[in-house]
């Protein structure tokens, strides 16, 4: 059956209009507001001590969360795909939990667990500040980003099967050598996507982090918290736009990095 030309053009217009209204318009608006006052104003606004500290904190959280997620994500994916243990179904469900649970719930439950009156509240009395400190924000971000590496790596592991690894073992490679030389290179693209998604989500996480951060400007604010506090607390709408643009810039960089890797991948 052939769709008529008018119908086709009509469909495309609707799809395009939907995308423009939903995604392009808000983004362009923010960019317009940010750079409407000149690039200088934007640079000034993101070079305040509070903004620099927020950027650093966001990047620091990413730098801690990504390696942890890579190690545990790959380990969990291997266990889920290759392991034969009881409770696999349960682990599968738990891995998806962060997708289903609202970040704010995560924040609340972390306070219950790690707060002064929580199970691990003793730590606080020993002087290790989890809630309202960096560890709390890292744990919250770990929680919400947990599924990405696991869920990207798992299907790749399924697809490659175990024959290459068995072949490596018959050729004399130890389990460890097989992992580094065969398994890891085979899953590298899945892992890369998982990392990119983790970075994007870690940068953008708000609901869980706001619950466990003390929120002091220049101390314990991430970029998302900075946008929020500038807008709500300081009524500095321009500053909020500028910080939002910075946040968006980082996300775009991450996406560009992924696209570049994608290009490279299709070549090999």
């Amino acid at each position: 059956m052939k769709t008529s030309t008018t119908a086709r053009i009509g469909l495309r217009t609707v799809a395009l209009g939907y995308l423009v209204l939903l995604i392009a318009v808000p983004i362009v608006l923010i960019l317009w507001r940010t750079f409407g006052e000149g690039v200088g104003a934007f640079v000034d606004s993101i070079r305040t001590p509070a903004a620099i500290s927020a950027l650093n904190l966001s990047l620091l959280i990413v730098a801690i969360v990504v390696p942890l997620n890579v190690v545990f994500g790959v380990g969990t994916a291997l266990a889920l795909v290759r392991g034969r243990f009881r409770g696999r179904g349960l682990v599968q469900a738990v891995v998806d939990l962060p997708f289903a649970v609202s970040p704010i719930v995560v924040g609340v439950s972390l306070i219950l667990l790690w707060g002064v009156d929580g199970w691990f509240g003793g730590l606080e009395r020993l002087g290790i500040k989890v809630i309202f400190g960096l560890p709390g924000m890292v744990i919250a971000t770990l929680f919400v980003t947990l599924p990405f590496v696991v869920r990207e790596v798992e299907p790749v592991l399924h697809e490659i099967g175990t024959e290459q690894e068995q072949a490596a073992s018959t050729l004399g490679a130890s389990t460890w050598q097989t992992f580094w030389r065969i398994t890891l290179p085979a899953i590298r693209w899945g892992l890369t996507y998982g990392v990119v998604l983790t970075i994007a989500r870690a940068l953008g996480e708000f609901g869980a982090v706001i619950m466990v951060s003390s929120g002091f400007p220049g101390v314990s604010q991430t970029l998302t918290l900075l946008v929020h506090s500038r807008y709500i607390d300081d009524h500095n709408t321009y500053g909020a736009y500028a910080a939002a643009t910075l946040l968006m810039g980082l996300a775009v960089l991450t996406l560009l990095g992924m696209t570049a890797l994608d290009r490279k991948r299709s070549k090999t």
Binding site: Q164, Q166, S169, T170, L171, G172, A173, A186
Partner: protein, 336 residues
């Protein structure tokens, strides 16, 4: 030499290997032949250490390797679906075992080049597996397995994923390679033609048990039982007995057929049958027949015989077996 002694392996209460004992002579090319699910792969993978036995022992070249990891068994393994390392070039694939063993670079280069020449992949060093045909990939996998100088070479349906022509070429090539390299080789196949073609010994497996072991001629001419007989080559059921189609003679004259049959010891007797179809297959002619009892069978004769008989469809003939269980006594020539 490989000895498998009383090997057992069960999945749940299903016995994939049921007390298998088998000796594979050093330097031989032995085929493990059997229908799907008969336990061929399980046996081969147990020899490789990729599968653990529930009971029994595996001895390779005098060393008991039953509890030894695959890395330390001195084996080369070739998988049906190649198991090529996709992210490595042909050269790196073949060099893998040597790299793991930390051999000097110059030695690795020399050895890899030699092997690639032997398997006919000269000039493919820098390709990736995805840029090779199935047959080329499998030859690469073979070179990779041979690079570590294995004590034994184990192949699990290595040509199973290839088309008929490439299969036939590659198995001839494998035979020649084996004649040059002389490594003890075990080939798993469910294709009786492949086994008869390349192997100098065949072990027939059925339901996790060894039915018969021997050289191809013995297995074909003197199968130990009906299963081996029908698995190696086609058979016709002539009055309750299994007979090869080319061991059936046809005659128009009942008396003459009876007289000839009387000279064959233990033969199933003369069967009256109707010609259903005469099919010319090049040099040979297959005659499809239906006995009085309704069972259908086929006889295979040469073209000259068929022309001499001049059979037409619908005609009645008398079929008899030209060899019987006591054939060795009647045709001394066959007993050699």
């Amino acid at each position: 030499m490989i000895s498998v002694i009383g090997a057992r392996r069960s999945y749940g209460d299903f016995a994939a290997l049921d007390d298998v004992t088998l000796d594979i002579p050093a330097g031989s090319l032995t085929a493990l032949l059997g229908p799907s699910g008969s336990g061929k792969s399980t046996l081969l993978r147990s020899i490789a250490g990729l599968e653990q036995l529930d009971g029994g022992r595996i001895v390779i070249a005098g060393r008991d390797v039953t509890g030894v990891a695959p890395q330390k068994r001195g084996i080369g393994f070739v998988f049906q679906h190649y198991a090529a390392f996709k992210h490595m070039t042909v050269r790196d694939n073949v060099a893998f075992g040597l790299t793991i063993r930390k051999r000097p670079k110059a030695e690795i280069s020399r050895k890899v080049d030699d092997l690639l020449e032997i398997v006919g992949l000269d000039g493919f060093q820098h390709r990736y597996p995805a840029q090779l045909s199935g047959g080329q990939r499998q030859r690469m996998a073979l070179a990779r397995a041979l690079a570590v100088d294995p004590e034994v070479l184990l192949l699990d349906e290595p040509f199973g994923a290839l088309d008929a022509k490439v299969r036939a070429d590659l198995r001839q090539w494998l035979r020649r390679l084996h004649d040059e390299v002389h490594v003890t080789t075990v080939l798993v196949t469910h294709d009786q033609e492949e086994a008869l073609d390349v192997a100098d010994r065949i072990a027939v497996l059925n339901k996790g048990r060894i039915e018969q072991v021997g050289d191809p001629v013995t297995l074909y001419d003197r199968p130990a039982n009906d299963f081996v007989m029908s698995f190696l080559g086609s058979v016709a059921r002539l009055g309750g007995a299994l007979v090869r189609p080319h061991d059936i003679a046809l005659d128009r004259d009942l008396e003459r057929a009876r007289a000839a049959d009387a000279r064959v010891g233990g033969s199933p007797g003369v069967i009256e049958a109707v010609v259903e179809r005469v099919v010319r297959l090049g040099f040979e002619v297959r005659i499809d027949l239906r006995a009085d009892s309704g069972t259908r069978f086929a006889a295979q004769v040469t073209r000259a015989e068929a022309d001499a008989l001049g059979l037409v469809e619908g005609e009645t003939v008398y079929a008899r077996a030209t060899t019987g269980p006591d054939a060795a006594e009647i045709h001394p020539a066959l007993a050699i």
